[in-house]
Amino acid sequence: MLNSNKLHTALEMSIKDMNAAYDENEVISHRFSWRYKRKKRAIIKAYQQSLQRPEEFDRRYRKISFRQKVLIAAMAIVMAALLTGAGVVVTYYIGGIRAEQQSTHTDAFAMDWESAPSTLEKTYSISYDLSNYEKNILSDDEYQYWAEYTNNTDYIDFMYWVKEAYQNARVNTEESAIGSMAINGFDALYFQRNEKDQVLIWDNGEYIFELHSNLDISIIKLIAETIYEEKKIVNIQQ
């Protein structure tokens, strides 16, 4: 590596050669840019200072060390993360549900889906009196049952799924805290949104249940605890 003394000698020799090439009386018409002049002044000043403090000149103009490169790279990564809005993901395990909460929403997954029934083999109903609600079936197939009950502005959404279909469900928990609640002996994921909408999600071991409503949570919990499995009636011919 070239040290400052050898650099000084090399520069001196170059300048002498350059001066020899020019006529003393020749007027140079080239106009140097402001940036060039500024850099030239800075280098000359640094060199003059280095004559008194050569260690400082070496420290200022030497190459960046490996440690400094690692530090700069780490800073660049942190800055990129902040600028792109990369956030923290908080993971909850509630009953048989894994919920990955981010700032804008939560991704919910039914765990252990491979050992659960792949189709709906059981039928569930609500025994709570909802006779003053209008019932609308939105889905009734081998993977999901979904009934919507409405009464003016009040609503109750009751659904249950095979676990395989409940993967990466996007749950709107933005600005909501996720909690848990006991429903029929199962741990249910619970959150409230905008002080109006309540959501309960739980795993009964075979299927994933969801109950959404804008009613008071105490009523929703009552409704949830009246969910029962309908027994199949088998006719035996004699």
Binding site: L82, Y143, R193, D197
Partner: protein, 142 residues
């Protein structure tokens, strides 16, 4: 080096605070951002039966009244580098209700790994709207 670190920290904190303010501005001015405005849950599910893919997408209601919900399902197959749309496996539906449930299927799938992409666009009575993309878990046809 110390001056550089100090300048970096000050610069980063200044830029980070600007980013937060930008988010607040977007929220106040009904700018569509990738966050869930109203609907409570959205799902995109892919189930395989033999070599048939069953594609189910749902978008459930909330107290925030919607005027329309549009869902576009696209079945995608994984290649070495990216996901490619499967030919003849794109479906779209629009409803003027508070919730949406949609089911489609595609048969004759070749072996490989698939996923279902669903793009939900919901418009609300208060003038807000949201567009959210949800991906299903991957499933493999052997």
């Amino acid at each position: 080096m110390k001056k550089f670190v100090t300048a970096f920290l000050i610069g980063t904190m200044s830029i980070a605070s600007f980013t937060v303010d930008a988010g607040a501005y977007a929220k106040e001015h009904n700018v569509v951002v990738v966050q869930d405005v109203g609907q409570l849950t959205k799902t995109s599910s892919l189930m395989l039966k033999s070599n048939e893919a069953v594609c189910k997408s749902t978008c459930s209601r909330s107290s925030e009244e919607s005027t329309s919900i549009t869902a576009v399902q696209t079945l995608e197959k994984k290649t070495s580098w990216y996901y490619q749309s499967v030919s003849g496996a794109t479906w779209s539906t629009t409803v003027n209700t508070q919730s949406l449930s949609m089911r489609n299927s595609k048969t004759g799938l070749s072996s490989g790994t698939y996923r279902l992409k669903t793009v939900f666009t919901v418009k609300y009575k208060n003038g807000k709207s949201e567009t959210v993309t949800v991906y299903s878990a991957e499933r493999t046809v052997k």
